[in-house]
């Protein structure tokens, strides 16, 4: 099993770095994953040889750049199993930008005074604040479904809030704090039964869960490229065409127009209608090698077995530390991804993270951009370790050992 992880590791140059003279143990993947050499090489190649603005010029370089950009889009369509007749992939600068686009344009078209948007208590700020802004603008209400004590989201709790006033349900497939796979399929079915569309925050789900948008039948699916081996500044808003066609554009400017006159401007067809300005064409093109790797990891049974082993190891070992609480530990570990948020009585997460940092172990501490959720369980924030297939069991062991050492120093 360790051989498999080390084979995968060898594809990622950053993973052989050292910090403070120690080998880097990178466990902050839920924030940003490392990039494989193939992505880094393509970025360099495109910058060196194929740098030209997309969709604009007739010259060769621009056409090559456009081809690369659109190949990135096709890679995403394949990865999400998009039916291009009914669905469309819009490039954004990240999940946050995608949520802002959706909240702005969806609310402009469908949200009126007195209506409701339904989210859960477990959402990332990017799936809270854009809706707060949209609701404020039109006088609508943001309704929040609480999470259970073990961090799971109950379908029944969602279902009982689905009424005629709810115009959209927007929920995380997996929260970035609890690492528990939510029953999104059931929630989507329940919402659809009442004619309510559903947006899925796939920022974590894209790496660890099923992201087949046809099977999920979600109306929107959002994720960032930088959490799935692609460069930063890349993101996706997948949406069903029936909504994307009806919604107004988000930003105005270059590329999103058909014809412009001072009397009447007409807009470009999907997806360009939502892609105003020069996009991050170099970054989005890198979805090709990034998702190629993600696809091969997703289909590899050995990788899955290793992920399960890491989850079992951490779920068993961490609670053995005196005073440690794991947040988001469902009875059924099959729905838990290798993402563990914790607190240790008598210590502050930021202190633990600083000592772990000195040991070369990169973890996250604080509110993790999901303050309402973290506060549900802890008033000092949490410490989070999040793993990907390139993380080894010995790294998980180093984390547990480092944590024990940090706790001992602080108590």
């Amino acid at each position: 099993m360790e051989n498999l992880a080390s084979d995968i590791r060898s594809l990622f140059p950053a993973l052989s770095s050292t910090v403070y003279g120690r080998p880097l143990v990178y466990l902050d993947n839920a924030a940003t994953s490392q990039r494989p050499a193939k992505v880094i090489e393509l970025q360099a190649l495109l910058s060196e040889k194929e740098n030209a603005n997309v969709h604009r010029a007739v010259h060769k370089l621009s056409q090559d750049a456009t081809d690369r950009y659109e190949a990135g889009r096709r890679a995403v369509e394949r990865f999400l199993n998009v039916d291009s007749e009914t669905g469309c992939v819009v490039f954004t600068s990240g999940a946050t930008a995608a949520f802002n686009l959706l909240a702005n344009c969806f609310s402009a078209r469908y949200l009126h005074k007195g209506d409701q948007i339904l989210i859960s208590q477990a959402e990332h700020h990017s799936n809270i604040v854009p809706w707060q802004l949209a609701c404020e603008r039109v006088g609508a209400e943001l309704v929040v479904v609480p999470v259970e004590a073990d961090g799971t989201l109950s379908v029944a709790e969602v279902e009982k809030r689905l009424n005629g006033r709810v115009k959209l349900v927007s929920i995380a497939q997996i929260t970035n704090v609890l690492g528990v796979i939510n029953p999104v399929r059931e929630i989507i079915a329940a919402a659809h039964a009442k004619g309510i569309p559903v947006a899925v925050d796939g920022a974590q789900g894209i790496v660890h869960a099923d992201s087949d948008v046809q099977a999920l039948d979600c109306d929107f699916y959002i994720f960032s490229g930088h959490k799935i081996y692609a460069p930063t500044g890349t993101g996706i808003l997948y949406g069903k065409r029936c909504f994307l066609d009806e919604m107004p554009p988000y930003m105005g400017g270059g590329d999103m127009v058909d014809t412009v006159s001072f009397e009447k401007t007409t807009y470009n067809a999907l997806p360009l209608k939502y892609e105003a300005g020069t996009p991050n064409f170099t970054g989005q093109a890198c979805f090709v090698p990034a998702l190629e790797l993600a696809e091969s990891l997703r289909n590899n049974q050995e990788v899955k077995a290793q992920e399960r082993a890491l989850v079992r190891y951490l779920a068993e070992e961490l609670p053995r530390i005196d005073g440690l609480h794991l947040w988001g530990l469902p009875a059924n570990l099959e729905t838990k991804i290798p993402l563990f948020s914790l607190t240790v009585e008598g210590t502050h997460p930021s202190d633990l993270a600083q000592i772990l940092d000195k040991l070369g172990i990169a973890v996250r501490s604080g509110w993790m951009c999901a303050e309402p959720l973290v506060r549900r369980f802890s008033d000092r924030g949490m410490l989070r370790a999040s793993l990907l297939p390139y993380n080894t069991l010995s790294e998980a062991e180093a984390f547990v050992a480092g944590l024990k050492r940090a706790v001992k120093m602080l108590k």
């Binding site: 502050h348 930021s350 202190d351 600083q354 000592i355 604080g366 000092r380 924030g381």
Partner: protein
Amino acid sequence: MSNIKTIEELSAEVIEEFSVFDEWLDKYEYIIELGKSLPLIDEKDKIDDNLINGCQSRVWLACTMQEGRLYFKADSDAIITKGIISLLIRVYSGQRPADILASDFSFIDRIGLKENLSPTRAGGLVAMIKQIKLYALGYESK
């Protein structure tokens, strides 16, 4: 002449103290000890007005002026932050506003704790130093 030591003298003392540690571990253990021993500020001063919110940890800072000198009391819910705060208090509490404003707080860097001042730490510490300077600025112009 006042018998209160200057910022330079106190900084030099702290730097001297830290020079005995070769290992980060010893340095952190010392800071943690300092953090544990810092007298807490009065509960009545632990109010939102004195709260400096960082993303990672919370810091309370209260300031009073006596005979032209500023006196600081502070606390944090994170112990390493609290340890560093105790060093800041040791150097800056009891100083004149003009001297505080003229100081660059570089001793934190010189004892090898620069990373704690990095904005990416998003801790309350950077905000605390800014607040100390704001107090100094406010009192200086009074």
